[in-house]
Structures are given as C-alpha cells and as structure tokens.
C-alpha cells in the first residue's frame, strides 16, 4: 500500500491547481481522476468569460507547472471507499487499489443540470433545443449547426437563463452564478460566427457581479445587438417546419411573448457531481443537495469537520474558474500547514 502526503480526488482545475502548488512545495501528491483525461470541465469549455481566454491555456499552464517527480496522476479512477486508518486516511479506488495519505483534498466538482428534467423546454425531444455545453462544443469547431437548413432567412437564437437554478420546482433554490455572464459570452461568440442573426436572452435578472462582467454585458448590446428580455420562459413547442416556438412573458412590458427560433440554448445550472455526492455522503459532510460542507465559510472554508479532509472548488458551491483556482490555492496553504504540524 503506497503512502502519499496528500491524495487529491478529482483532476479538474481545483485539483490540478492544488496539485501544482503542493508538488512544488515538495509534498508527495496523488491525483485520482474518474475520466480518461485530466482537466475536468476545462475540457468541455472552449473559451472562458469574461476575457475569452481559451480553457486549454489554463489547463496547459497547470499541467506544465506540476512538479512531475512529486506527483502521480491516475486517470479512469474513481473512489469507492474512504476511511480513517490510525492517523492516516485510506482511500480505495474502483480498481481496488488502496492508498494511504496524511491528508485528502476533495475537488470532485459539479455536473451540469440535466435539462431533460425540465420537459417543458423539450431538451432531447426537439433538435433545436440544446444546452450551453452543447453550444460550447459547436463554438470549439467554429460553426453553429442549425438543425433546420435554410438559406433565405435571418437566424434567430434564444438563450434561456436559470434552467435548473433558482428554480424551486426543480429542487434547486441556488443561483449557479456562471450562467448570466456565460450567456453573454456565448451570445457574442454566436454573433461573431453568425453575424446575420438575431440573438435574444431571456432572464429573471442579470447578475453581473464579477470584474468586467458588466462591461461585457454592455458590449454585447452596443456592439453585438444582443436583445435581453426579462421574463421566464414557460414552454417550448415545435412549429410546422420543425423550428420551435417559445412562450414567455416580457415582464417589463407586461405582455406575453411568442417567438419562433432556429436554436434555443438552455443555460444549465450547476449541481454537485455524482462523485461529490458519493464522497460527501460517505464522509457524512453533505448538505441537502449533496454538496460538501466546509467547516466554516468565513474562516475555515477549505477544512471539513473531518480532520485531514480538505475541500476546494465547485464540490462545495457554485464558483467561477478564477474563484476555483484561488480556492485551490488557499486549500494548498491549509494542507501545507497541516502537513508541517505532523
């Protein structure tokens, strides 16, 4: 049974950033990643808001700066068991390998909300309805594939905010924080790829909290003519020519809205990933959604109620990529302090 200073569960931005910091401090580090490749959700995203940094650049920086001789990375590996053995943590993976470590860092991240759960939007039923993740894949290829061919019509694209966020009925009361600005970013990108199109964004309210977000929102309107409509979409139905018609209420005009679109993008929210839910319940540190609960949000946000178990990133709550990176930094410091005391 191999012994490490620290086992990091999850090889996304949080896990890799922590691995980079800790390996450079010469701690013997193991990263367990359930997918075939490391990088987590960075692999699903083309460019990052608000400055259109390619996600691959962030991933490249992290992998290049991890100190190889101190780090072991095991992909296609998920954790099945985690328990305390004497003063160490024993982690069992899906290949029945067992590892020992002084500390464990949970960075299992999030999954996007399963849009099929909001059947009224018809995801999986109408080809015109896609999610923000699907759109990002299209943007990576540099083309937007409209399911219905046409040559003579101006394309219409809708973004629908808060799909599976701030939605009592789907059981997710929280705001996913990323979708507002992400839709602005994607709307601009869509307009760049298909300049001859009309883009509408349906929202409850726009939460442009981060640096440069508000500026990007303004730019999207002034330079790219993106239209913002305040109102939740009630339902989407097919038209005779296989496009979709969207029903909503423009709550600023107090008028019902019925519009036909070539493409509808659902801005899916963030839910704890399956790995997050499994680990948080195995360790009994889960909240009502399955997120990992940190010891104290204000002063001990990377600690949990289990000594030696640390937490960073979106397995804790909804964070942006820069926030996740900074959270992983502070987790690395907490872990280094913990290991030094031993």
């Amino acid at each position: 049974m191999e012994k490490f200073d620290i086992i990091i569960i999850g090889g996304g931005p949080a896990g890799l950033n922590a691995a980079m910091r800790l390996s450079n401090m010469n701690y013997k580090t193991l990263v367990l990643e359930k997918e075939k490749v490391i990088g987590g959700k960075l692999n699903q995203w083309d460019k990052l808001f608000p400055d259109f940094t390619p996600a691959i650049d962030v991933l490249k920086y992290l992998t290049e700066n991890i100190k190889q001789e101190n780090t072991q990375i095991s992909t296609s590996t998920s954790v099945t068991k985690i328990d305390k053995s004497d003063n160490l943590w024993k982690v069992t993976d899906s290949n029945n390998n067992e590892y020992l470590a002084d500390a464990v860092l949970i960075t299992t991240g999030f999954d996007v909300f399963d849009a099929r759960r909001k059947e009224e939007y018809g995801y999986g039923i109408y080809p015109c309805v896609i999610t923000s993740v699907d759109l990002e894949k299209m943007l990576e290829t540099g083309t937007i594939n409209f399911p219905i061919e046409t040559s003579d019509r101006r394309r219409r694209i809708a973004f629908i905010q808060c799909v599976g966020s701030r939605d009592e009925k789907s059981g997710n009361h929280f705001c996913s924080r990323n979708c507002c600005i992400c839709a602005v970013k994607q709307a601009i990108e869509v307009k760049e790829v298909v300049p001859d199109s009309d883009v509408y964004c349906f929202y409850m309210d726009l939460r442009m909290f981060g640096q440069h977000y508000e500026e990007l929102y303004r730019r999207s309107q002034q330079e790219f003519n993106v239209n913002f409509v305040r109102g939740r979409v009630s339902e989407i139905a097919p038209t005779f020519d296989n496009r979709v018609v969207l029903k909503a209420e423009d709550t600023l005009l107090s008028r019902p809205v019925k519009m036909t679109f070539d493409l509808v993008v659902l801005m899916v929210g963030m839910n704890p990933s399956e790995g997050t839910k499994t680990l948080s319940s195995l360790l009994d540190i889960n909240d009502e959604y399955g997120y990992v609960v940190s010891q104290d949000e204000h002063v001990a946000d990377n600690l949990t109620n289990k000594a030696g178990v640390f937490v960073a990133g979106t397995c804790k709550r909804q964070l942006t990529v820069p926030e996740t990176m900074k959270d992983a930094d502070s987790a690395a410091i907490e872990i280094a302090n913990f290991l030094n005391r031993r």
Partner: protein, 597 residues
C-alpha cells in the same frame, strides 16, 4: 289517564322529544325548500319509483347496520351497529312490550321508555319473559357498543383510526349525555328489579346486588330522563344530527339529486350528514405525508357548521377524492369545497386585461371532419414527450385525426373551476364545446386526466365520445391497429386521481396496455386507493416542501419493488415524479412506453 303510568320524571324526556322533533321538522323543511329547481324536479320524478324502496333498503344497511364501516374495520363497524341498530331495536321492542302490556298500541309514549318503572310485576301478558330477556339483551348490546366508543375516545388505533376527531362544547354535552343514558337506564331498571323482581338476566342480577343498599329509585330515573332530554336538545347542534340527516341524504341521493355548482339545500343535508367518524383523516395525503391535520373533510365540514370556516381550510385540499372514496356516508366533500371556493370577482383581472381575446387559441377551424380529435391540454404541452408519442401512435394506427390544440388552445376550464372561478370556467367551456362540435368528429382523445374529467363530468353539450388516451390506446390494441412489443421491463403504474375515483375509474385499460408491453408490478396502494402525487391543481396553498413530502410518499409506493419504469397517464403526475427522481427508475407516460417498445 292511568295514574300509575305517570310520574313527573317523564317530563324532561317528553320536553326533549318535542324540542328534538320541532328542530328536525324545521331543518328538514328548510333544506328541502332550499333545493334547487333541478333538484326538486329530480325528487318529483323519482319519489314514486323503485328508487324509494332502494333507499329504504340502503337506510337499513347503512344507517342501522353500518355495512360500509364494517367493511373498513369490523370493530368500528360493530360499535356503530350496536349503538344504532341496538338502540332502535330497543325502542321498537320496548314499544311492542309496552303495547302488549297495556293492550293498546296508542299508549303513553313514555311508557316504552320507562317501562320497568311503571310495570306491575304481578300483571301477566303474552311473551312477558321473552320481552324481558330481549330488552336486557339489547341493552347489553348497546352497552357493549358504548364501551367500545369510550375506548375509541382514548385508544383510537384499536378501530384502525390513527386520529379521532376533536370536539366542540355542544358535542361534548351531547356525547356525555349519550354516554350516560344507557348506564343510567341499566342502574334504574336494576334498582326496580331489585325491589320488584321484574328484571331480566342483566338487570335482575345487578338489581340483586344493589338491593341490600336500599337505594332510592326515583333520582336515578330522573337522571335517566334528564340525560335523554339533554341529548335530544343538543343533538341537532352536534354531529349526532347525522343520525337523522343521513336518512334524508340517502333518499335524496337515490332520487338522483346531486351537488351543484352553487350551494343548495342538498349541500346543507350533506354537511349535516357527516358523522365525524374521522375516516377521512387517515386517508388524506396531507395528513399522512405532510403532517397537515386540521383541514380534512371532517374539519372542513365541522368548521362550516360552526361558522368558523377559514380561507386556508377551504383551499388546503388536493381534491384527490381519497376521502370521498373512503367516506362511509358518501359525502362529496370535495365538491362542497369547490362551492365554498367560489369567487365572485376575478381578483387579478386587471393583470390580464391586456390579453387579446383573439390570441387565446383558435376556436373556429372546423371545416374538415376527422374521426378523432386529439386535445393535449395545457399540461401535456408542458410535457412534449407525451404529445410526440401520441402523434406517433396516431400515425402507427393510421388514424384520421386533428390535433385540436396544437397551437395552444384554451384551457379545459377545470383548474379555474377548482379554484372557484365559475364564470371564467364556463366561458372557456362554452368556447371549447363550440370548437369540438364544429368538427363533427367521433372521438375526442385527451392525454390529460384533468381535461378528461372535465369533458366527461362538466361539459354538458358535447356531441362527441370522450376517451382518455389509455382507453384509446387500449382500443387500438384490441382492434389490432397498434402492435405492442412485449419486453422484459417491469412497470409500476401510478393511477392519477382524476381517473381513479368517483365516477371516473379507468383501471383496466392502462393495466391491459402495460401487461402487453411488459410486467406490471402489484402495489400496496393502487386503483381507487392510489396516493396523490401532490401537485394537484386543486391546492394552491401548499408549499413546495409539503408537495415534495406528498410526492415522496407516493414515490415510496411506486419504487418499492424497483421497477424499470414508473408509468403514469397524467402529464402532471409525470412532471411531479420526474422532479423527484435522481437515481432511480425512469418516469414515463403510458404513451411513451408504447412508442419506446
């Protein structure tokens, strides 16, 4: 007057009886007077018919023997039966005994009630010993029922009831006086028997035990008479009014009187016929899942009778009809709730003024005559998977159909009706009738049980056969027009409230379809006993958490045997269950199951 057959203690009893009958006459006449025109017509048409005989038979069965309560719980049934049937036999046999004794049927009315006191033990009359035995036996039966009633007050679980109803002060007076009547009668008759040796096996034995104490007789007879008097005076203001009202209710119902949209005398009869047995509390999902235990039919009716009904009690009800299904008296309490929800003005009217009436769906396109009209309804439009599957089914069966609300037609009106917006609902209904009739189609198929129930029970002038899609799909399969592949999948079928209770019971069609498509698992609560999914449009006051509690209760039943699919035939149930599932069986509408296989 035979002076030996009078004593002042009969006066409270006589006074009580007179007051009681005056009260009853006034109530009955008021109720009948307040019947609506159509209801009175129904009574007139059926009063001289076999229905009257059927009503008499049902009165015997339900008011005296309480067969429905027996079916639910034998101990509870025996309790009601021994009190009701036992007491009435006590009166009848007592009357015969008194008449035989005095040689005249028209003897003092109180003679039968206080017979042992006035009886001259030396006087011989036919079947004297038999009468004595019978009267003691009946008294014993009533006392045994009373004992159970007392036990029930304190240990209601014995009767299969988890909750006993709470009482008002007048209830309490009537209850205590009722509890006192028979023990007092026992002691009074026993004391007499102790002196005169005219008792039966029960009264004589107790009399012999009491004789050595030389107790005075008259005070106990006074107490007995006063207990009767108190009970008779308070009875019309308590739940015991149900004893007489239920008889009237059974007759009116047999004559074809039904609850209408507005309050009538029949509503008052139904309200007064509630015996407050509390059976509705235990079957209510609000109680069993969401711990809401002050809004059930019994409390709703009590609060109306006590004039303290609140907005919340009226509205906090799923209208799932499980209580109506379980009610031994058959009171349509959900219908009465809808009556009390009636809103005179459309509170939010100003918010909808901007809506263009012309934009609310097409109502005039009827130039072709298809065989089938498909009406998806608002809820199916929120679950487009169902519409998609229905279209494929129509295509596979080669059906000549028109999707009548493809462009989002107007609502069937039932959600408005359930919330008390009668005028608005009627406007929508009239438009829909006009639209449906304009097609000259044969069948109206809907994939929504709410619409189905509405078309079936509330639409009066519809010239078209209405079918729920489970019925229609089953018909296609039986006619050989639709092939279903049998798979090795297992299904748990959830019966939607709107088609599993009252007059709309669609149980076999969905089950036939699912048996053809795979294996159907048996459930602990199904058919008329199925649980509500919690998302009923009938209840607008529940919180999301409470709805989730009710949903989880229903899901526990469905997922118990780990089916591959939870199947339902209501878009609303489907949506509700889908929200509740994370890692479990998939939720599908029955139409989607057909298309999938």
């Amino acid at each position: 007057m035979d002076t030996t057959m009078y004593n002042p203690f009969v006066m409270p009893f006589a006074f009580g009886v007179v007051i009681l009958f005056l009260n009853l006459i006034i109530s009955f006449v008021t109720w009948l007077y307040n019947l609506s025109k159509t209801q009175r017509k129904q009574v007139g048409r059926h009063i001289i018919s076999w229905r009257t005989l059927a009503a008499i038979w049902e009165c015997l069965r339900e008011c005296l023997l309480h067969r429905n309560i027996f079916k639910r719980n034998p101990v509870l049934g025996y309790m009601h039966c021994s009190l009701a049937f036992g007491w009435s036999l006590l009166i009848i046999v007592g009357k015969f005994e008194a008449s035989t004794y005095s040689g005249s049927f028209f003897t003092n009315p109180w003679l039968a009630i206080f017979f042992r006191y006035f009886e001259d033990p030396s006087r011989i009359f036919p079947h004297k010993e038999l009468f004595t035995f019978l009267m003691d036996f009946l008294l014993a039966v009533v006392l045994s029922g009373l004992l159970l009633a007392v036990i029930k007050r304190f240990y209601s679980r014995l009767m299969g009831l988890k909750k006993a109803t709470r009482h008002t002060p007048s209830d309490r007076i009537a209850l205590i006086s009722l509890w006192c009547i028979f023990p007092l009668r026992l002691v009074a008759e026993s004391l007499v028997a102790g002196y005169r040796n005219n008792g039966g096996f029960l009264t004589q034995s107790l009399g012999n035990l009491l004789a050595p104490f030389n107790l005075p007789i008259d005070p106990i007879w006074w107490a007995y008479s006063i207990a009767l008097c108190l009970f008779f005076i308070f009875m019309p203001f308590t739940r015991y009014m149900h004893i007489f009202t239920e008889i009237l209710l059974i007759f009116l119902r047999k004559w074809g009187v039904v609850e209408e949209d507005k309050k009538t005398g029949y509503t008052d009869v139904e309200l007064a016929a509630c015996s407050r047995c509390g059976i509705c509390i235990d079957v209510c999902p609000l109680n069993t899942a969401a711990k809401i235990n002050d809004t059930q039919s019994v409390y709703f009716i009590r609060d109306i009778r006590d004039n303290v009904i609140s907005h919340r009690i009226i509205n906090d009800c799923l209208l799932c009809n499980r209580c109506v299904e379980a009610c031994p008296v058959g009171i349509k309490s959900t219908k009465i709730r809808q009556i009390y929800r009636e809103k005179k003005s459309f509170e939010n009217k100003q918010y909808y003024d901007y809506l263009n009436p012309a934009a609310t769906g097409s109502t005039t396109s009827g130039n072709k005559s298809p065989k089938v009209l498909y009406f998806a309804g608002c809820m199916s439009h929120l679950t487009p998977g169902i519409i998609d599957s229905m279209k494929k089914i129509f295509k596979a069966a080669g059906e000549d159909f028109v999707f009548v609300d493809e462009d989002k037609n107007i609502c069937c009106g039932r959600p408005l009706r359930q919330q008390g917006f009668l005028d608005q609902a009627n406007t929508l209904m009239a438009k829909n009738v006009q639209l449906f009739n304009s097609y000259n189609a044969e069948i109206l198929v809907t994939s929504c049980p709410i619409c189905y129930n509405s078309f079936k029970t509330e639409y009066k002038d519809l010239n078209i056969k209405v079918m729920h899609h489970t019925q229609y799909i089953n018909m296609l399969i039986e006619e050989g027009r639709l092939q279903v592949n049998h798979s090795d999948k297992t299904f748990a079928y959830h019966d939607p409230c709107e088609i599993s209770r009252e007059e709309n019971r669609i149980f076999e069609e969905p089950r036939n379809i699912l048996r053809a498509a795979g294996t159907l698992l048996p459930l602990t609560n199904e058919k008329a006993d199925a649980l509500c999914c919690g998302s009923s449009l009938g209840n607008t006051v529940l919180s999301t958490e409470q709805i989730e509690d009710i949903r989880n209760q229903a899901m526990d039943v469905l997922t118990k045997d780990n089916p591959d699919y939870i199947v339902t035939s209501c878009p609303l149930c489907k949506k509700t269950f889908k929200k509740g599932l994370r890692n479990g069986p998939e939720v599908k509408d029955i139409a989607e199951i057909i298309i999938m296989g």
